[in-house]
Symmetry: C2
Subunit: 216 residues, 2 copies
């Protein structure tokens, strides 16, 4: 097989990629906005399973876009990697911020003392924040499990939960529990997901409001 490199202008690479993704994506029953979210998950993974496994609760995307438009929101992630992948220019344009408590010394200490994960403790820190809250979990089912408990106890009220942890232990279960909770959510059903997917969904939503892309 010949593997010849074709010159593509830097600013055109993403658009070209999206065209190629569109050609392989099913027509689906998504809204136009939901489709942009699906497409960006495929863009970040080259994995077309995201055209099958992404669940959107009714009007979750519409609601998230309203929250982003109003500004002043906080996205809480369960890895620094996801926080790092969130487009800071789009975030600043929307007057939003991203927080991740995973590497905080007090979170680590408390997790060890209580024999729970740092991700679970992180959700309690998220509950103490003021202003509109978006939870983006790409890693830790224990974050979602604790989040569900805190929601049930009326201690946290996220505007939307992006529930896309990846893995093999309690991952499917924790995502299904988020769906059942009734919170507005975007969920990668099954085992797949990841920090890259969590960041991609946050970015897709922000790009819908700002008109930005990952290249500018």
């Amino acid at each position: 097989m010949d593997h010849k490199i074709t010159w593509v202008k830097p600013e055109e690479i993403e658009a070209r990629s999206m065209e190629l993704i569109e050609q392989e994506m099913p027509s689906g029953s998504w809204s136009w906005e939901e489709r942009q979210v699906v497409r960006r998950c495929i863009h970040t993974s080259a994995d077309f399973d995201y055209a099958k496994n992404l669940y959107f609760s009714q009007e979750a995307v519409e609601h998230a876009l309203q929250v982003l438009k109003k500004g002043g929101f906080t996205i809480v992630t369960d890895t620094n990697m996801a926080a790092s992948g969130i487009n800071k220019r789009a975030l600043a344009a929307l007057h939003g911020q991203v927080r991740c408590f995973m590497a905080d010394a007090d979170v680590d200490r408390e997790a060890k003392e209580r024999g729970i994960t740092r991700a679970a403790v992180s959700m309690e820190h998220a509950a103490a924040l003021s202003g509109p809250l978006m939870i983006a979990s790409g890693n830790a089912p224990t974050a979602l499990i604790r989040l569900n408990e805190l929601m049930a106890a009326d201690r946290i009220h996220p505007e939307i939960v992006i529930a896309v942890p990846v893995g093999f232990v309690n991952v499917i279960e924790s995502k299904e529990a988020i769906i059942r909770s009734g919170v507005p959510c975007i969920v990668a059903r099954g085992r797949k997901g990841g920090s890259n997917i969590a960041a991609a969904i946050c970015n897709a939503l922000m790009y819908l409001v700002t008109g930005y892309t990952s290249v500018g």
Copy 2:
């Protein structure tokens, strides 16, 4: 379907996940060390395609482990997200560092002036570093294309290239060019890869030397 959450101690989640991955992985023809790398890519993506698409040049892993053992190396990534995903505790234990030039103002300026990508300019910055060099590309085929040119011109001599960009435009081609170059390399053939995969491979290699895991 019943989705019941099973309590698993935080420190046991990763080991349990790895057991489940092992059950589904083919026996393969990998060395034990290569198998750990494959396993960690699956762990970070829940995508068993990595049991099929990962290419290891002969003794690439053995060579990488030698470089890590000696310390004083620099891992250069093509996204801040990949840099963020690299385990800093393992890195410090090995007296290594990670660098990413993508967000540097001068890289951005130079890329715009020359009409090339920031990732391509980044590789030139990498070439100016002293000490053993590991390139970990999870995002930008243009980084690999420029890297190949710099290697051909004898301007950069990486100890190993982790070539796992994800995507649709020149991705396959740039990876195959790295394989053909003869540099020690670990490559996710095809479209798949990503910053998470690049970080996972770096971490798998470091864990092999340090005995660490992602949880401690």
